[in-house]
């Protein structure tokens, strides 16, 4: 009964080689988020979708893009990964945006290694 699924769990890519991380949800939530979490640091929000409405955080590098083709799926594209992009990438969902104590549900994350 997995609710937020991320594939793959581990991804290795080469410096500069585009990579796509995948997230899917069975909760039918309107909002999907992508976070970057580096070792021993807090998760950092990259962007979120409310339905098809894309919202980028001001300090998210242009190297990071996202697509949400339908309610269930959301992709994180890293166009030219650098060594500094090695991190855990977390996908999360919530029912609404600004829904009081609405909970965010997280996936298990994809650990990205850049060689």
């Amino acid at each position: 009964d997995a609710m937020v699924i991320q594939n793959p769990r581990y991804q290795v890519t080469q410096f500069g080689k585009p990579v796509t991380l995948s997230c899917s949800q069975t909760l039918n939530h309107n909002v999907m988020y992508w976070y970057q979490q580096k070792s021993s640091q807090a998760p950092k929000l990259l962007f979120h979708y409310y339905d098809k409405d894309f919202n980028n955080e001001a300090d998210t590098p242009d190297n990071f893009q996202s697509r949400r083709p339908n309610t269930s799926f959301c992709f994180l594209d890293i166009r030219s990964p650098g060594l500094g992009d090695a991190a855990m990438y977390l996908c999360a969902t919530s029912r609404e945006w600004g829904g009081g104590t609405d909970t965010q549900y997280f996936g298990p994350g994809t650990r990205l290694t850049v060689l």
């Binding site: 999360a92 609405d102 965010q104 298990p108």
Partner: protein, 115 residues
């Protein structure tokens, strides 16, 4: 901008004992929400407990309770009767009522449980 501070990078507790994790935050807003999330090793982050700032009563979920001191901007998590399965990274998070569902996380406290 809101900030969340967890001053204890690591904590350790004996099984069956009680431990308290600290969290302070800085905000100029009066309406907000506070959360504790648990991130076990290699597993997804899950919500432990949440608190609405307008509620004076401290939230409780089974063995987990909080001590919410609004004036002091403090939000500590108490884990009673600690179990081996409580070993994880714990993140304190803040969400303003005016910022949608955007969470601001602290840097986390890694809790070890000694058998």
């Amino acid at each position: 901008a809101q900030t969340v501070t967890q001053s204890q990078p690591e904590m350790s507790v004996q099984e069956a004992e009680t431990v308290t994790l600290s969290c302070t935050y800085d905000t100029s807003e009066s309406d907000y929400y506070l959360f504790w999330y648990k991130q076990p090793p290699s597993r997804q982050m899950i919500l432990v407990i949440r608190q609405e700032a307008y509620k004076q009563q401290n939230a409780t979920e089974n063995r987990f309770s909080v001590n919410f001191q609004k004036a002091a901007k403090s939000f500590s998590l108490k884990i009673s009767d600690s179990q081996l399965g409580d070993a994880a990274m714990y993140f304190c998070a803040y969400r303003s009522s005016s910022s949608g569902d955007k969470l601001t996380f602290g840097t986390g406290t890694r809790l070890a449980v000694r058998p």
